[in-house]
Symmetry: C2
Subunit: 565 residues, 2 copies
């Protein structure tokens, strides 16, 4: 570990849905030295949309490169004003990103989007994680994989998602053949950034992270890496060659992807040669930055939620249906990484504020604050409302993008604050469904550590999560656990620690403030959750039948009781 006499620093890059953050930390204690955020300039808050298809969500790869340069350069500038920091004491860089966010590249690894002919072609851009346009392809992959002798979906919950690598490539093959043909390979954003800044962009040999490969591309050492050419050809013959244009062995983030090349180093004000860790998804680095260990569920709550757990790597784990993935080394090298998630959380609240909130609430974060204040005064059950959190589909446990939102229980007096609260509660019910699924399959959830913007900023939301889940909700000490996790891996590849666990012990922690469940609220929420689960199963499960006649009546009874209390 770093002795006080020789303070060293590492940099974590966290590529989010709308912006990228660079975080410079002290490797000795994980404390923030400086940070800078770069908002992606393209599209609508960084997202390229298609007005004819709400499933489409793409990004301009140039935003990623500009984002690296500007955010690191500005963070370094700020850090230089702090005592003890010097650019030559930066010992490593780590990178995490949203995902699965693959982009088509040419033989040299250059994004097709950079070519003039494809500049305006949505199919040639990066396909953002929340792009659901390939839902038909996802269903086809699920179907074909189920019939295939090798159980390629055993590690990702039994259902392939429209958010993932092969669905998107197959959809491009079918709907944008010109782009598909021009693409030599497809590179995840998490691999693209380390490759670009270390100059190792050749698609055949660039390091590919086990996190993206294992969770999204059906990569597993059990079957020798990516799915076989035969299987890929069964989806489309043109997919088979892609298998050869990929690394033989995907690796975790405690491995070095390469060293910062001089032209990039110069632009950001760092020396060339700084070690860069293999990239991974934001949630997985966030899990590490929040102190993920056996029995700890880390929830990264932002526009969507990722739920991360780890389990010992030395004994077999059951395959848990509906989980996004179970991948060795995807979170902490040497342990199984388990990923679940909700396709939209903050995005649902933002949608509501953007489209359905009257003038008196103001806009943006002011509206969120005012709604949260009003909604906090409403007792559990008193609105009579119940909602499903499926505005962007359901990732865990249904793994189904072809689901939509639902709000039920409106009267002629229902207010915006009541609906806002119902939407928050819906996401909490979704969170509880994930916790229950872990435990049903023997993965005990001993504590919950939350991180991400919402957990930091919104005590109202976190109290509802505690009440709905009937568990204490802890908050990560760092406000930037994803970037911190990335920086932690920068510290590891830079040699400050011998392994990830050692780095976690020094660099991570939780806040003193813990949100504890109110037993009376928890009792009401137990009733509401039973109704939520009925709607969840009725609309989300094939063949499920049962009477829903009582749902509105029960909600009215709960409401009347809550208002009289």
């Amino acid at each position: 570990m770093a002795a006080k006499a020789a303070r060293t620093f590492s940099i974590g890059l966290d590529y989010g849905t709308n912006s990228v953050r660079a975080l410079i930390v002290d490797t000795g204690d994980g404390r923030e030295v400086a940070t800078h955020v770069f908002d992606y300039p393209s599209g609508e808050a960084g997202i390229l949309l298609d007005p004819r298809d709400p499933h489409v969500a793409r990004q301009n790869p140039a935003d990623y490169i500009d984002g690296f340069i500007v955010s690191v350069r500005e963070a370094v500038k700020k850090a230089k004003r702090k005592a003890g920091f010097r650019p030559d004491r930066v010992i490593g860089i780590g990178v995490d990103t949203t995902g699965s966010t693959p982009m088509p590249v040419d033989r040299r690894g250059e994004p097709l989007a950079f070519r003039k002919e494809f500049k305006r072609d949505l199919a040639a851009q990066a396909w953002l994680w929340k792009d659901h346009s390939s839902h038909a392809e996802a269903a086809e992959i699920t179907r074909k994989a189920a019939d295939y002798p090798v159980k390629y979906l055993a590690k990702c919950g039994g259902t392939y998602s429209s958010e993932w690598y092969w669905s998107k490539i197959l959809h491009c093959r079918r709907t944008a053949p010109r782009v598909f043909k021009a693409a030599y390979s497809w590179v995840e954003l998490a691999d693209f950034v380390p490759a670009y800044i270390t100059g190792r962009t050749d698609p055949d040999t660039m390091p590919r992270g086990i996190c993206a490969a294992g969770h999204k591309a059906m990569y597993s050492e059990e079957w020798g890496g990516l799915p076989s050419k035969e299987f890929l050809a069964s989806l489309d013959p043109d997919l088979a060659p892609l298998r050869d244009r990929y690394t033989d062995k995907a690796v975790p983030s405690d491995r070095q992807a390469g060293e910062l090349i001089a032209p990039v180093a110069k632009k950001v004000g760092l020396p060339a040669g700084v070690p860069v860790a293999v990239g991974a998804f934001d949630a997985h680095h966030g899990g590490v930055g929040a102190g993920a260990r056996e029995g700890t569920l880390v929830k990264i709550i932002g526009t969507s939620t990722c739920d991360i757990m780890v389990a010992p790597g030395d004994r077999a784990l059951p395959d848990v249906p509906g989980l996004c993935g179970i991948v060795p080394g995807s979170v902490i090298p040497g342990m199984y990484g388990l990923e679940a998630g909700q396709s939209a959380v903050g995005d649902i609240f933002n949608w509501f504020v953007q489209h359905l909130v009257p003038a008196r609430y103001g806009r943006g974060s002011a509206a969120h604050e005012k709604l949260s204040r009003e909604a906090a005064r409403i007792a559990p059950g008193a609105s009579g409302l119940l909602a499903l959190d499926w505005n962007n589909g359901n990732r865990t446990i249904l793994v189904d993008p072809l689901l939509t939102g639902l709000v039920l229980g409106q009267t002629l007096h229902t207010t915006a604050a009541e609906i806002y609260r119902a939407l928050v509660e819906a996401t909490a019910f979704g969170a509880l469904t994930i916790i229950n699924r872990f435990e049903e399959y023997g993965v005990r959830v001993g504590e919950v550590v939350n991180c991400g913007g919402i957990s930091e900023k919104n005590a109202f939301v976190m109290q509802i999560y505690a009440d709905v889940c009937n568990r204490p909700m802890k908050i990560s000490a760092s406000g930037q656990t994803c970037a911190l996790g990335a920086a932690l891996f920068g510290a590891v590849v830079g040699g400050a620690y011998e392994d990830t666990a050692a780095a976690q012990r020094r660099m991570t922690g939780v806040k003193q403030k813990v949100f504890r469940p109110d037993p009376r609220h928890a009792a009401v929420y137990a009733e509401l959750y039973a109704l939520y689960k009925e709607l969840h199963d009725a609309f989300g499960t094939p063949g499920h039948t049962g009477s829903l006649y009582h749902v509105m009546k029960d909600l009215i009874a709960i409401r009347d009781r809550a208002r009289k209390a």
Copy 2:
């Protein structure tokens, strides 16, 4: 009929939910001479609310009296500026009101609300039609009536409503015993106004209209008037005496309630002694004013909807389950009056505009216009949304106030205009469900004539009704069919016509503009209606089971098709 040489006039009073309108017409052709609207000053837009119970909706009876005086006085003033009008040529007055809106009165027929001790007591006010606080009592009456040898509910759809007379009285008995004890009798607003202005307020002998009695108080000549004392006592022993404090024979609106008394006449600028017709509900007079005849469904579309048909009185009608009522003479004397309705229509749109519309749409009617314009550009099915129109419960065909709203199909891109359209469509689906119910029981719907504010003002809504119902939608020539119907009965009791039909032939008609269904839209709506009906039955029908798994998926498929078209 009135000859040109001797033009005469009649006045119709239409007591709505938020205001009362006085309309002076020429009895020769029904044309408007003058009108004046008085907004009820009490409460929130005339409604007294209870923040603890969204079911409560009361009104201050003083507003009704002030409303008569001011609206008639001002209308007469305006009419006097028109050539040919003279107050002494007013030959009759008719009155219609919302209902069932009963109020407790003392031995002399004076509302208890006028006493100092009860001035602020919500239970002593008029219980507005849309007050649903007595839903438990309604369910109890339904249950007990079902077990009773006399089938008291056969004429009102088999289910007693929380909106109706006895439910409200029984709820008052149980929750406000002091008010109940002080009440000698309970008087419908439709009877109260004619009684008050003719001085015939003695509850025992004041004329009671067959419309309110038959539709809401289980009155039928088949069983000798109101339900027996034994039955009423089975609800509560204290209800039985009320049977004696009621007229023996309820009468239709072509009968005279009395003559305008001098003190009232003086205040409004009319001669004393003008004949006043027996009162009825707004929808029933509206049906008459819109030209209701066999095969014509009249829809009065306002905050709620009333659906009125008539059927020949000389042959037996089947009892139609879920209809609000089948009462001889309630619409046109000598014919069966059939009433159905939706508990909220305009109220749902108003609720949405008041609570869930962002600043850029403006407020009130400007917001309705802008939303309608935007929503009109959305193709049927293109929003992917489906809603239930139950924010105020369901009157026909489920007769269940314990139902609530539902909106389904939201994504992260769903707009306010899309939801507005979905809510309009939901009310159209509700309208179609009523048409289907009439026809399932052999009451043929040959044409639909719409009246009321929304049909007048909102072409967007009427086109959706035409497309959803796949029928032409006609619009009544008069913009004030309820008040016109009341004035028409004023003309009848004033002697201008020998019967209602003769008056209708001269005084009513439809506009040239007819909204005709677009076959392509109708085809999409047939698909959406099938899904609506599944939700309707799943949430609204006891014991109904079936899979709803396909609903969100079908909506997405319809949406994707509609957006590509």
